[in-house]
C-alpha cells in the first residue's frame, strides 16, 4: 500500500468559489453544442456553479456516450442518476451527475420526460453503476429504461401495486388504508419472489428445464419448486434478510455449485423508509433529524452534508468557528463509522476481540456526542446556517483525549489483525477489483481508493476549508479486501491528524450566522427585542424560505461520496430531496466481486464494502 497526496485540482467547483463565467464557455457545454447543435436545450449553472445542460431524450445516449469517450472530456464516473417530479403535470426530470477523474470537472445532464412518455434509453452499457440507479428510478417514478438488462422494482416489493411513490400524485401514506396495506404485506409469500425473469437471468431456466412441469407454474414460483427442479445439481440459497453477516436486512439470493457462488442476486428494499418522499413534506430544518437515521453509523456526516447543501442553495456563508467545528464533527464521525466497520468485519471473519475494542472507543465518541447534542447516535447537530448550539465547556479537551487514545486502540487492532494468518488468508486477493472497473461501477470512498484511485471529495472539491488541512489520502495497490481494510485503518489515523489540526485552530466567535431570516435568534434576544421576536415568529410559523433553484452537492462521507440533490421552488419545503447514499452504489459491485468465489469469501467481500442498509434502502 502506498500513501500519496492526491493532485490538488484547481478546477474545484466549491460553494462560493467562482465557476466558469458563463455556462456556454464551459468546456463540456461548448463541446456538446458543437457536436449536437440544436438538439440540446438550455444550460445554466446551479447553485454551486456546476454546469447543467438540458438534453432531448432522443439523443441522451449519444450525449452520454460522447461525454464518456471524448478524450478532452472523459466523464468516466457516473455519480448519480436521480429523478425529480415538480408536480402539476410537469415532466419528470432525469439528472445524470457526472465527474471526470482526469480533468476534475463536474457536469449535469438533465433530460425531461413527459408523464405520457416516461421512457429513455438506458446507460447501463456505458456505466455499470447505472444499473441500480436506473432501477431505482423505474421503481419510484415509473421511468422505463430501454435496453436495461434487468428492469425490476428494487426498493418496493416486486408485486407492489400502489403506484410509483416519488411521483407528486402519490399520497405520502400510500393509496390503500393501513389495514389493507398490512393484509397485502402478510399475504405476500416471502419466498414467491423468484420471478421467471430472474430465474432466466440466473441461467436457471434452460430450454429443457422450461419444459419441465415444475417450471410451468404461471407467474412466480416458490423456492421449493425450484430446488426440486434442480435435482441437487445447483442450489439456490437465501442469505438474509435476517442474517447476522449481511450487516442489516440485505437479502442475497445465491446460486451455488457446491460452495462456489455462481450467481449472486441482491434484493434490497427491506428497510426502504421513504426518506425522500417524507422529506418533501418537511421544512428544510425538519429534514435534519431524518438525515441522522440514514447513516446511523456516522450520523454527523449526513447532518453536515445536508446543511452545506441547503446553505449553498441559500448562498449563506457560515461562520469560521462553525466551519472548523463541522470539520471536527465530520472527522470524529468518520472514525466512528470506520470503527464500527472494523469491529463488525472482524466478527464476520471470526475475530471477536476487535469488536470489543472498537466498541470501547465508540462509547467514548458517544459520550462526546451526548455531551454536545444530548443524543448518542441520532445527533441532529447542524442547523441551516449554523449548529444547534456552541460546544459545552471542556468538550475540546475531552475530544483531544479521545484522539490521543484512539490511535493506541488502532495499534492494538492492527497488531491483532494485520499480520494474523487467518485474517490474511481470508482477505488477501479476495474480491479484487481494478481501478478502472471500480470507477465504472461507480465505487467511491475507501472502496475505490483501495483500488488505487485517489479520488476523495475533500481533495477534489474541497469544502469546509479542507484544502487548509494537512492530510494524506491513502490508496491501495491491489484492490482486494485486505487493501480496503488497510485504507480504512489509515484513514482513521489521517482523521485523527485532521482532528488535531482543527482542534488547534478552532477560532472563537459565534457559531451561527448573523442573519435572523436564516437561523433562530438566541432565546434571550427574542424575549428582549421586538425585531428578534418577529424574526423568531416568522421562522417558526413560516419556516425557512429557500430561494428557487437546484443543486447537487456532495461531501466525502465515511463510505464514499455522499450527494444531496435538492430542488427548491422558493418555499419552506423541498420539492425534491435526493440522497445519493454511497453504499447504495458501492453494493452494486457485490455480484461482480463474489461470483466465482467461495460463499465464505462473499461474507468477507460484503463486509469489506462497508454498507449501511439505512442509506442503501433509504
Amino acid at each position: 500500500m502506498t500513501t500519496t497526496e492526491a493532485p490538488h485540482m484547481d478546477v474545484g467547483l466549491v460553494a462560493g468559489a467562482p465557476g466558469p463565467q458563463s455556462v456556454e464557455s464551459d468546456v463540456a457545454v461548448s463541446a456538446l453544442r458543437r457536436r449536437f447543435g440544436d438538439r440540446l436545450g438550455g444550460a445554466h449553472l446551479d447553485a454551486v456553479g456546476v454546469p447543467v445542460i438540458d438534453v432531448h431524450s432522443g439523443v441522451i445516449h449519444d450525449v452520454l456516450s460522447f461525454l464518456k469517450s471524448d478524450a478532452d472530456l472523459s466523464y468516466d464516473l457516473l455519480v448519480d442518476v436521480m429523478g425529480a417530479d415538480r408536480g402539476g403535470g410537469r415532466p419528470v426530470e432525469v439528472w445524470y451527475q457526472l465527474w471526470s477523474m482526469e480533468y476534475g470537472r463536474q457536469l449535469r445532464v438533465v433530460c425531461l420526460l413527459p408523464l405520457t412518455g416516461l421512457s429513455i434509453r438506458s446507460a447501463t452499457d456505458l456505466w455499470r453503476s447505472a444499473n441500480w440507479l436506473e432501477r431505482e428510478l423505474y421503481d419510484l417514478y415509473g421511468v422505463t429504461f430501454v435496453g436495461h438488462p434487468d428492469l425490476r422494482r428494487i426498493l418496493m416489493p416486486e408485486n407492489y401495486d400502489e403506484g410509483f411513490p416519488l411521483r407528486k400524485d402519490f399520497p405520502l401514506r400510500g393509496r390503500f388504508g393501513r389495514p389493507e396495506q398490512v393484509r397485502r404485506a402478510l399475504n405476500r409469500d416471502i419466498e414467491d419472489v423468484y420471478a421467471r425473469e430472474e430465474l432466466a437471468l440466473a441461467g436457471l431456466l434452460s430450454d429443457e428445464e422450461s419444459a419441465h412441469p415444475a417450471f410451468d407454474v404461471p407467474g412466480d414460483m416458490s423456492a421449493s419448486d425450484l430446488v426440486d427442479g434442480l435435482e441437487g445439481e445447483r442450489m439456490l440459497v437465501n442469505l438474509g434478510p435476517q442474517h447476522p453477516a449481511t450487516h442489516g436486512v440485505l437479502r442475497l439470493v445465491l446460486q451455488l455449485d457446491g460452495e462456489t457462488v455462481e450467481r449472486c442476486i441482491p434484493h434490497l428494499g427491506y428497510l426502504h423508509t421513504g426518506f425522500e418522499k417524507t422529506c418533501e413534506y418537511r421544512e428544510w430544518n425538519q429534514v435534519i433529524p431524518y438525515t441522522d437515521r440514514m447513516d446511523y453509523l456516522a450520523p454527523m456526516l449526513y447532518n453536515v452534508g445536508y446543511a452545506l447543501a441547503v446553505e449553498s442553495l441559500l448562498g449563506v456563508e457560515i461562520t469560521p468557528r462553525c466551519r472548523v467545528l463541522r470539520v471536527i464533527l465530520s472527522e470524529l464521525n468518520r472514525i466512528l463509522g470506520h470503527l464500527l466497520w472494523l469491529g463488525t468485519t472482524a466478527i464476520d471473519l471470526g475475530a471477536f476481540t476487535v469488536f470489543l475494542y472498537t466498541f470501547q472507543e465508540r462509547e467514548k465518541i458517544y459520550n462526546l456526542h451526548e455531551a454536545y447534542s444530548g443524543a448518542r447516535l441520532t445527533t441532529s447537530v447542524t442547523r441551516i446556517g449554523g449548529m444547534l448550539a456552541d460546544l459545552p465547556a471542556g468538550w475540546t479537551t475531552a475530544c483531544r483525549e479521545f484522539a490521543a487514545g484512539v490511535t493506541k486502540t488502532l495499534d492494538e487492532c492492527e497488531r491483532l489483525l494485520s499480520n494474523n494468518s487467518i485474517w490474511l488468508s481470508r482477505t488477501i486477493d479476495v474480491g479484487t477489483i481494478d481501478g478502472e472497473t471500480a470507477i465504472n461501477f461507480g465505487l467511491t470512498g475507501p472502496s475505490l481508493r483501495a483500488s488505487g484511485v485517489a479520488y476523495d471529495v475533500r481533495k477534489a472539491r474541497p469544502y469546509l476549508g479542507y484544502e487548509d488541512y494537512e492530510f494524506d489520502v491513502p490508496v491501495g495497490s491491489h484492490g482486494d479486501t485486505y487493501d480496503r481494510y488497510l485504507v480504512r485503518v489509515e484513514e482513521m489515523r489521517q482523521s485523527v491528524r485532521i482532528l488535531m489540526q482543527a482542534l488547534d485552530r478552532l477560532p472563537s466567535g459565534p457559531v451561527n450566522v448573523d442573519d435572523p431570516s436564516v437561523i433562530l435568534p438566541p432565546k434571550s434576544a427574542s424575549m428582549a427585542s421586538i425585531d428578534s421576536m418577529i424574526a423568531h415568529f416568522k421562522l417558526v410559523m413560516e419556516g425557512l424560505q429557500v430561494p428557487a433553484g437546484d443543486v447537487w452537492y456532495s461531501i466525502e462521507a465515511s463510505k464514499g461520496e455522499l450527494g444531496f440533490g435538492l430542488i427548491s421552488d422558493g418555499g419552506s419545503k423541498p420539492v425534491r430531496c435526493r440522497f445519493r447514499g454511497p453504499s447504495f452504489v458501492n453494493l452494486g459491485v457485490l455480484p461482480y466481486l463474489s461470483e466465482g468465489s467461495l460463499i465464505a469469501d462473499l461474507i468477507a467481500v460484503n463486509a469489506s464494502l462497508d454498507i449501511v442498509l439505512g442509506e442503501i434502502d433509504r
Binding site: 405476500r188 447476522p244 427491506y270 421513504g274 458517544y366 441520532t378
Partner: protein
C-alpha cells in the same frame, strides 16, 4: 427449604462414588423453578434493522454487558430463541419476514419492541413503514426512545423477566397458539385502522386520544382491546 448440611453424606461404602456433594432436597413450587430458569437464561433473537440495532449492539458490548442477565447468547436462529427484540423500523416488505420468524420461534416466547419506529412507526408515517409492529406480532414490552439508550433496553429485558416471574404453567392461555393465526396480522383490521391514524402532528391527534384519558398505567395493548370491545 431444609438445611442441607444436617443431612447424612452419601455413603462411599455401598459402591457409589462419593462426589462430596451432599444429597439434599428442597421443596418449592414448580412454577418458581421453571420461571427462575426461564428468566435467567433468555436467548434473544435480535431482529435488528436500523439505528436501534446499533444501540442493541452497544448493549452487547463491553460497557453495558448484557451477559450479566444471562442473555449474551444470541440466537440468530429463531428455532432456539425465546425473545424477539425488534430493533428498528419495519417496512411492509419486511413484515412477512418478521411474522414468519415469530411463527418459527417455539413457545414460550416474548417480544420486545425497541424504539419509536418499531412501536408506532415513529417519525415515518408514510407509505412503507408499518405503524407499530403490534399490528403484526404480539408485543410484551415497548421501549420508547429514538433510539432508546442501552439502559432502556436493559430495563425492558428486566421487565420481561418480571413478566416471566408472574406466569404459571397451570395457566396455558398465554402459551397456546392457534395454527390459523400463523402468518396473519396480530390485530383485526378495525384496530389497525384505529391505531394507525396520523399521530404526532399536533394539529391532528390520534383518534384514540379523544376517547379515553391517557394514563401511564395503561398500555397501548389494553387500550386497543378496550376499544374493540366498545365497538361491539
Amino acid at each position: 427449604m431444609t438445611d442441607a448440611r444436617s443431612l447424612p453424606l452419601a455413603d462411599a461404602g455401598d459402591g457409589r462414588v462419593d462426589t462430596g456433594v451432599p444429597r439434599s432436597w428442597m421443596t418449592t413450587r414448580v412454577d418458581y423453578v421453571v420461571n427462575w430458569a426461564r428468566r435467567n437464561s433468555i436467548w434473544p433473537m435480535p431482529f435488528g434493522t436500523a439505528c436501534c440495532a446499533i444501540e442493541m449492539m452497544a448493549t452487547y458490548g463491553s460497557k453495558y454487558d448484557i451477559a450479566r442477565f444471562g442473555m449474551e447468547r444470541l440466537s440468530f436462529s429463531p428455532r432456539q430463541a425465546d425473545l424477539m427484540i425488534v430493533a428498528g423500523r419495519v417496512t411492509y416488505k419486511l413484515a412477512p419476514v418478521m411474522r414468519r420468524i415469530w411463527d418459527q420461534m417455539p413457545q414460550p416466547k416474548w417480544c420486545i419492541s425497541m424504539g419509536a419506529c418499531a412501536s408506532s412507526g415513529g417519525m415515518f408515517d408514510n407509505y412503507t413503514i408499518v405503524q407499530g409492529i403490534d399490528q403484526i406480532v404480539p408485543v410484551d414490552v415497548y421501549v420508547p426512545g429514538c433510539p432508546p439508550r442501552p439502559e432502556g433496553l436493559i430495563y425492558a429485558l428486566m421487565m420481561v423477566q418480571e413478566k416471566i416471574k408472574g406466569e404459571s404453567l397451570a395457566d396455558d392461555r398465554l402459551r397456546v397458539e392457534s395454527s390459523s393465526a400463523v402468518g396473519r396480522p396480530n390485530l383485526p383490521p378495525e384496530a389497525i385502522q384505529l391505531v394507525a391514524q396520523p399521530f404526532g402532528n399536533s394539529t391532528r391527534q390520534n383518534r384514540m386520544s379523544g376517547i379515553e384519558a391517557t394514563s401511564a398505567l395503561q398500555r397501548p395493548r389494553d387500550r386497543i382491546e378496550r376499544l374493540i370491545e366498545h365497538r361491539d
